[in-house]
Symmetry: none
Subunit: 208 residues, 4 copies
DNA sequence: TATGAATGAGGGTTCATTCAT
DNA sequence: CATGAATGAACCCTCATTCAT
């Protein structure tokens, strides 16, 4: 029996890797198909056999990001920290560790695409949303795991979304300044917010 | 009375208006110079008389955003709310009011460009930074005006940067979902943070 | 029987033919790429698949001239005259025969390019030099074949270069006057010089 | 009485100087009008007041070269050498002295234009011809002054034209090789020709 | 007369994609 | 399935020239 992954598997992977990398580094519009082909070592015909258009390739890249969300992004965080709230800050720290060596020249690959193509590519929007939902879904689950350590009245989903906001908004400013300062600032404020929430939940929890 | 504007003022304005609008609507790379020319009703030579390149035009657009920051963005907010902390939320509300009618199809014009060109256009980065600094500068000033209502130990500058983070990160998610929910969520969490900060400052202000 | 030429051979040839003809007729700078495309019946993309730039196309044209030097220029001369010295004048006559029907509207395609682009295109200069060297190389070989008919002390290489000088300088003046007179004049003087050289070699050939 | 040279005289001179220099350095087609304007420090309107077109400016440049032929080219030669035949080689030496320091990057300004525009600009051709005629006219006069030192049967006009041929053809090859060798070669052969002619005239002058 | 913005055709080149081999 | 030449619209920009001020 022949393996379920024919020769085109490699081609497909090389294309996806090259496209993901280039879209991340240069953006979608600034990346020419010919560049992807060159970097992937593939011919136009091959690419268009697998993906009917540059847009379809973008969709595949975003689906791949969804698949990689756990193994690449979340698993390391869960391995590093067991406390659910610490996982949140471990996640934010992980992005800092990824991009700080590059002086924040790159941003979040999903966030970049969100701003660049969400408008012009209606079919792509749901895939971006899927990534964002997956990401904040992990955070929301951790928040729920924190249980009573956080105020009962706290909207976990709102807060999870805010954690994503902090990551994306912080990274955007970090890229503009080529410095960690703004990212660190937003994370620090988020930490302070958590501290206040934790204090309020554990303390008398008087008013509210 | 003849106008004090030289002959090229109109052309310059028409170009800047069209370019700003199109860069906002479509992004920088997705906007062809020919589209700008058509919408501005201008010939290629005229544009290149005034701006030596598309990149220079982008720079001019960003400088214009800096000039418009106060009259368009901040003045209405300062007129609407006098309380410095309320001004922050009036500012965030103003963005909601602007983009909600468009179902959040557009994002922050500066933020979009930050993610699209910060990397590829080194000469543009400072101009984006200038806009971000100006924006959070207003917020920081308001926070200082709040004086003792906020904890003395609070880093006003960090928090100001976080307000920008909330706006940009919230708007990014709003665009992806074409809904206000994520934006509102982040703003609501920020409000809760402020409430806790205000309570802590007014309360005994015990530790730190 | 399928032809041994790959699919692009025809296109390549059509482009080269059109480019060579137009560069000859109009000069390099005065020839638009679009004109080449139209005359070759080819699309821009096709051209730029084969040649990365207009300059690269110019290089290819000059390499083609090098290849054609023998079959087009020298072989007919060698067929027409067997005496080495007569070959030189047959060569000069051949240029007269080529350009006289056009009233000397065109000049030497290499010479034209030499003066137009030698300065601005450093990578092209060697290719022009290669053509000149090839051309005068044939003449030099003929002069060597003439053996003792020419003075031993005569620098064959210098004289070969001078034959090229006569052709180029004569053609330049012929173009300016639209008449063969100046070309014929230079060739006639060259003939007289040869006559004197031949006489001197056969005669006493004493001094020098 | 106001002087006969109004303010535009300077403008006119600055334009002509800049145009002549740039046409010489870059060629006619490769020189943009805007470059001439910049280098001359002049506005488009001013230039087009004085010269109705780029072509007209070229014509003016060539007329200026005609005017300058004696003061710049021939007078120094006549001052340096009094023997008519030596004047010819002094003239050829002068070109060597001019262009050798530039490594023969530039060629004869007239010759360059002859090959570039003789074909496309019918109204320019006579002006080039005028320059060539003037140039070889001086040489022809010198040859006549040489009187009996040269064979009576020698066609002075033909030989004068050949001297120009040597200069132009030699300079063309010098530019291509960026070396004086080919120029020197042609001049050396011309010298040898003259030596033979002189010997023949002084000798018995028997046959022919 | 001087100024420099305006004109608009055309410059060389790249794009995403198709298709014959 | 792979190949890479072919397609042609669109890219950003420069050209020589005009004209309102």
């Amino acid at each position: 029996m022949s393996p379920p992954t024919p020769a085109s598997q490699d081609t497909r992977t090389r294309i996806l890797d090259a496209a993901a990398r280039l879209f991340h580094e240069q953006g979608f519009n600034a990346t020419g198909v010919s560049t992807i082909l060159r970097e992937a070592g593939v011919n136009p015909g091959s690419l268009y056999n697998l993906y009917p258009s540059k847009d379809a390739l973008l969709a595949a890249v975003l689906e791949r990001y969804t698949e990689l969300l756990h193994p690449i992004v979340m698993a390391p965080v869960e391995a590093k920290a067991s406390d659910p709230i610490e996982r949140i800050f471990a996640l934010l720290q992980q992005y800092r560790d990824w991009f700080s060596p590059l002086e924040f020249r790159l941003g979040c690959p999903i966030g970049n695409l969100a701003l660049e193509v969400a408008d012009s590519h209606p079919e792509i929007r749901p895939l971006i949303q899927q990534n964002f939902d997956g990401w904040s879904g992990y955070v929301e689950r951790w928040l729920r795991e924190a249980g009573d350590r956080l105020p009962r009245s706290l909207d976990r989903r709102q807060l999870a979304s805010t954690v994503l906001t902090v990551m994306e908004g912080g990274l955007m400013q970090a890229r503009s300044s080529r410095s960690a300062a703004a990212y660190d600032a937003s994370v620090a404020q988020l930490r302070q917010y958590f501290d206040l929430l934790l204090a309020r939940a554990s303390g008398g929890g008087k008013h509210t």
